[in-house]
């Protein structure tokens, strides 16, 4: 495929534009910090962004192994799930890739008549977006789970430990019931 070759060649430029577009979803004043603070510990968000987006892009070119790409998507989406984004906002960055490609490779695509190939590749990006949505929901669910468990742990463990509730023991064939009948 010709397009893939070009996409590979132009990878740094496309990824850079893609990252820039994604950074634009953050407040103007945080952008520079997210973009330029290279310390992964002082700036986990920015570093996750630039690292994982590069990985995602390269993986897209290789085809789309859901397992591998999920591992790259996971941390990014996880971060965006707890920031001030609505669900659509949180995963919209995937679609920016289409725009980034069109912006960066406009000439090449027209010159080589790669529109069809481009459409194919874009459907890959759509699949990626669906994956991202799954991951987003998983993490949101996790958050609610943690929230629910926190409330439950606080109450039920207290009751349990204070001996106020009685748990049914695991099944045991030798167990005699309360009446002493076998």
């Amino acid at each position: 495929m010709k397009l893939e070759k070009i996409l590979k060649q132009k990878a740094p430029a496309v990824v850079k534009t893609w990252i820039r577009m994604t950074l634009d979803t953050y407040p103007a004043d945080a952008r520079r910090f997210l973009n330029e603070q290279k310390d992964p510990f002082a700036n986990p968000v920015g570093q996750a962004l630039s690292q994982e987006m590069k990985n995602i892009y390269l993986e897209l070119l290789e085809g789309l192994n859901p397992e591998t790409v999920s591992s790259f998507l996971d941390y990014m989406v996880k971060i965006r799930a707890v920031q001030d984004f609505s669900p659509s906002q949180a995963v919209a960055f995937i679609f920016f890739l289409k725009k980034a490609i069109r912006e960066e490779l406009k000439k090449e695509i027209q010159k080589n008549r790669l529109q069809d190939e481009c459409m194919d590749f874009e459907s890959r990006i759509d699949a990626l977006a669906l994956l991202a949505f799954d991951i987003y929901v998983t993490h949101k669910k996790k958050l609610y789970e943690i929230r629910a468990n926190q409330a439950k742990n606080q109450v039920s463990k207290l009751l349990e430990r204070a001996g106020l509730i009685c748990e049914i023991p695991p099944w045991n064939p030798d167990f005699k019931d309360a009446n002493g009948q076998e």
Binding site: A28, D29, A30, R31, R32, F33, Q37, K38, D39, P40, F41, A42
Partner: protein, 360 residues
């Protein structure tokens, strides 16, 4: 208030301040006003303002001992204490303050780490802010010391020494000396450079731009103006130094003179300095005095060793043990916990009385 407006406002204020002496001296020839009255007033306001400010601060007490501990506390004898960053003695505090004031230690702390090829990690300190700030403050200090030569006769030895050190890096020796220019002093140019960089940083870094107020740009413009007029006078549009010294020495000896023939540039310079002096105590520039009173830096972390007293301490309402026991006594007895006061009658009787009471 956006940053454009901030800059426009503060720069306009600065321009007006430049125009005032320009009009006052050049057009109206108010040399006494600008050469004597304003400088004296400014100096007076500076000192009084500063004193009022410091007294104002010290009138608020320090109720609690709240140093920021940035290292290991003094604890067991075999654990190495971080005596400067977590001082437990006055000496430690003194050293901490000296480092803070003279080397901007906290700014220096700004470390940053990077992944380098693979999992290796390297440390790098974020140095720009620290470097600019240090360059700015020290060159300012040297410039101030150098200016003492205008206010003293004979010139004290340390002033000459500072000048020699400053001029040691004579940048102007080669091409400029042909024009009979004095040797360039590093400090003035450094000051100009550092202020410009601080200004650029404020504009360039989005976060800092976002938090900046007109009050942050204004002093930068003012100092920039002062340094610029100073450099201009020294190297290009030279003023008559002999006469200037006549004027300044007059000021210093309280026998003010206003000799003719000093260019208006000098008066602009002097006026901007006066404005800076007046502005100083009422603005963020008082940080230079405030740092000495900052409770997170100037206190030792010894509040477990020596009791710190709060001057406005007052008694508060507490829930006493007695009230607590009164509420929970029966449950405590039942659980076998010791109590201060046993109920006078056994519990059962008490319950009976209660029941009877209900019946009645």
């Amino acid at each position: 208030m956006n940053f454009v407006l901030s800059i426009v406002v503060s720069f306009s204020a600065f321009v007006v301040l430049v125009l005032i002496p320009l009009v006052g001296v050049w057009a109206l020839d108010l040399r006494t006003l600008f050469g004597t009255v304003i400088p004296y007033t400014a100096l007076l306001i500076f000192f009084l303002g500063l004193i009022v400010r410091v007294i104002g601060w010290s009138r608020s007490p320090v109720p609690f001992r709240i140093p920021t501990t940035a290292g290991q506390q003094k604890s067991l004898p075999w654990i190495k204490q971080s005596k400067i960053d977590n001082p437990s003695t006055t000496l430690g505090v003194l050293v901490r303050m000296i480092f803070e004031v003279l080397t901007f230690r906290s700014l220096f702390r700004n470390t940053r780490m990077e992944y380098r090829e693979g999992p290796r990690i390297g440390y790098e300190w974020e140095k720009w802010l620290w470097l600019f700030a240090l360059a700015f403050h020290y060159s300012f200090l040297v410039v101030v010391i150098r200016h003492l030569r205008f206010f003293t006769e004979p010139i004290p030895a340390f002033v000459t020494l500072v000048e020699q050190l400053d001029g040691f890096f004579q940048v102007g020796s080669a091409p400029f000396s042909g024009f009979m220019l004095p040797g360039a002093m590093l400090s003035g140019l450094l000051l100009l450079g550092a202020v410009s960089l601080l200004l650029l940083r404020r504009l360039w870094v989005a976060q800092v731009r976002y938090i900046s107020l007109p009050a942050d740009y204004f002093p930068l413009f003012l100092i920039l103006g002062i340094a610029f007029t100073g450099v201009l006078m020294r190297y290009l549009l030279k003023v008559d130094v002999i006469r200037v010294k006549e004027l300044t020495l007059g000021l210093a000896s309280f026998q003010p003179k206003n000799p003719e023939g000093i260019g208006v540039l000098f008066y602009i310079h002097l006026f901007l300095v006066s404005v800076l002096l007046v502005y100083f105590p009422f603005s963020k520039l008082v940080h230079f005095a405030g740092i000495f009173l900052s409770p997170t830096r100037n206190l030792s972390n010894n509040s477990r060793m020596v009791r710190h007293v709060n001057p406005w301490d007052y008694p508060v309402k507490v829930h006493t043990y007695e009230a607590y026991e009164d509420e929970f006594r029966e449950k405590m007895i039942e659980a076998g916990l010791p109590v201060e006061k046993m109920p006078e009658r056994p519990l059962e009787q008490e319950a009976e009385t209660l029941q009877q009471g209900e019946k009645d």
